[in-house]
C-alpha cells in the first residue's frame, strides 16, 4: 500500500506542478492516471519512483519506506517505464543477463512469452529496434520484473494496434492481489477495460480519486438523440449525444472514461 500525504512539488516556487495530493493506493488494483498535458502526471510518477523529491508531503510504501531515502529497499519494490525509455547498446540477452538480476522476482518465462507475443526477435540489438519495438521491449521487461509497484508512463504511446491488444492481455495476466499498477495516459481507450480506479489530476490537485464501481453507482453513461434537463454533461457523437446523468434507477451502465474526463475538465461533475 502506498500512502501519499499532502504531496507538493514545483521546479519554480511560483509555478507549482503538484499542489496538494493525498491518497492511498491499494494493492491488487490497476490505477488510471489521467490529466491534460503538463498537469503533473509524469511528475507524480517520478515522485512515486523516487526520482524527484517532494517539496512538501511524504510518499511512503507500506508506511515503512519513504521515497526520499532512495534506499535499495524502496527501489526493489518498484519499476518504472518512462514515456521515452533510454536506448541501450546491448543485445537483448546481454541486457537481461545484466539487469534482471537486480529484481529477485524476475520471471524469465514471462519475459520470453512477452517477447514472442510482441514479435521481437529475441537476440536483437536494442538500439537498432524501432521506437515502438524498443518500447515494447521495455514493457516486456517491466512486466517480467514482478515488482509490487509498476509505473507506466504512456505505455501504449508508439505501439501499433495489435501490440496494444497484446499489452492489454499481458497486463491482465501479470496483475495480482499484491501489485499496484499505475498507468498514466492520454489514450484512455487503449486501457479502459483494465482500469479499476481512476485518478484525474487537474492543476496539481486530484479532482477525481474514485474506483469505477463507485463512479457507476453515482452516474449513468448513455446515448440519446434528445438533450433533456437531467443530463449533467453531453458530447456530440455523430447522430447522437453521449451523456452522463445521475444514476436514478440504481442500474449500472458501462463507463466511458473519456467522457467522464471531459466532464471533469468542464467542471460539470
Amino acid at each position: 500500500m502506498i500512502t501519499i500525504n499532502n504531496l507538493g512539488f514545483y521546479y519554480k516556487k511560483e509555478k507549482p506542478i503538484v499542489k496538494s495530493i493525498s491518497t492511498q493506493l491499494q494493492s491488487g488494483k490497476i490505477y488510471g492516471l489521467l490529466g491534460l498535458n503538463g498537469e503533473g502526471k509524469t511528475t507524480l510518477l517520478k515522485l512515486l519512483a523516487g526520482l524527484l523529491f517532494p517539496k512538501t508531503g511524504v510518499i511512503t510504501i507500506d508506511n515503512k519506506f519513504p521515497s526520499t531515502e532512495r534506499s535499495k529497499e524502496y527501489f526493489e519494490q518498484l519499476y518504472m517505464v518512462p514515456d521515452q525509455p533510454t536506448s541501450s547498446a546491448l543485445h537483448i540477452p546481454e541486457f537481461i543477463k545484466i539487469y534482471s538480476i537486480f529484481y529477485k522476482d524476475f520471471s524469465h518465462q514471462l519475459f520470453e512469452e512477452a517477447l514472442i507475443a510482441f514479435n521481437i526477435a529475441p537476440k536483437s540489438k536494442i538500439k537498432s529496434l524501432s521506437f515502438g519495438q524498443q518500447k515494447k521491449f521495455h514493457l516486456a521487461f517491466a512486466l517480467a520484473t514482478n515488482t509490487k509497484l509498476l509505473l507506466l508512463d504512456e505505455p501504449t504511446n508508439g505501439l501499433d494496434i495489435p501490440s496494444k491488444a497484446i499489452f492489454r492481455k499481458l497486463l491482465a495476466k501479470v496483475t495480482d492481489d499484491e501489485k499496484i499498477i499505475i498507468i498514466s495516459t492520454h489514450l484512455v481507450h487503449d486501457i479502459e477495460n483494465l482500469i479499476d480506479h481512476v485518478l484525474i489530476i487537474k492543476e496539481g490537485l486530484l479532482v477525481l480519486d474514485s474506483n469505477i464501481n463507485a463512479i457507476l453507482q453515482l452516474y449513468s453513461f448513455g446515448y440519446t438523440s434528445m438533450l433533456t434537463d437531467d443530463i449533467l454533461y453531453s458530447e456530440k457523437s455523430i447522430a447522437n449525444y453521449k451523456t452522463i446523468r445521475h444514476n436514478q434507477d440504481n442500474r449500472e451502465t458501462a463507463i466511458d472514461i473519456e467522457l467522464l474526463f471531459n466532464a471533469i475538465q468542464d467542471q460539470k461533475l
Binding site: 492481455k169 499481458l170 491482465a172 495476466k173 477495460n193 479499476d196
Partner: protein
C-alpha cells in the same frame, strides 16, 4: 425516454460465459478459464472478471472448487436459457412494449407481428 446505455462490462462478460456454455465450448462439470486467463483473453481487468464469476456463482451457473478453479454446473444450459428469458422479459421486451405503447401501436398489431415473427 429514449436513451440507450451499454451494459456494464461485468454483465457483458456474464453474457460471454453464457454463450460459451450454450455453444458447448465450455461443457458441464469441466473447468473453465481462470479469472486471470479470461481477463487476458478479453483484455479486461481480472477484478471485473471476478465480479462476473461471483454473479455466475450466485446464479448457480458455475461453482468453485477450492484450489482448483471454476467449473460449469450440471444443466447450466437450461438455467441460462431460463435466465435469458427472464432478463429479456424484464428489460428489452418491457422497453419495446413501452415504446410501442407510446407510439400508439395497438395490441392487435403486436399479436399479429408476433404471429408473423
Amino acid at each position: 425516454m429514449d436513451f440507450n446505455t451499454d451494459k456494464p462490462i461485468y454483465l457483458q462478460i456474464v453474457e460471454y460465459v453464457y454463450e460459451r456454455i450454450l455453444q458447448q465450448e465450455w461443457p458441464e462439470d469441466t473447468k473453465i478459464l481462470s479469472v486471470r486467463d479470461l481477463g487476458a483473453e478479453l483484455e479486461v481487468n481480472p477484478n471485473t472478471v471476478m465480479r462476473s464469476y461471483e454473479k455466475l456463482q450466485n446464479d448457480n451457473i458455475i461453482y468453485n472448487k477450492r484450489g482448483i478453479g471454476f467449473f460449469v454446473v450440471k444443466d447450466a444450459s437450461i438455467l441460462i436459457k431460463k435466465l435469458r428469458v427472464e432478463s429479456f422479459k424484464a428489460n428489452e421486451l418491457v422497453q419495446a412494449l413501452h415504446t410501442a405503447k407510446l407510439l400508439g401501436i395497438s395490441e392487435q398489431e403486436i399479436v399479429t407481428l408476433y404471429k408473423h415473427a
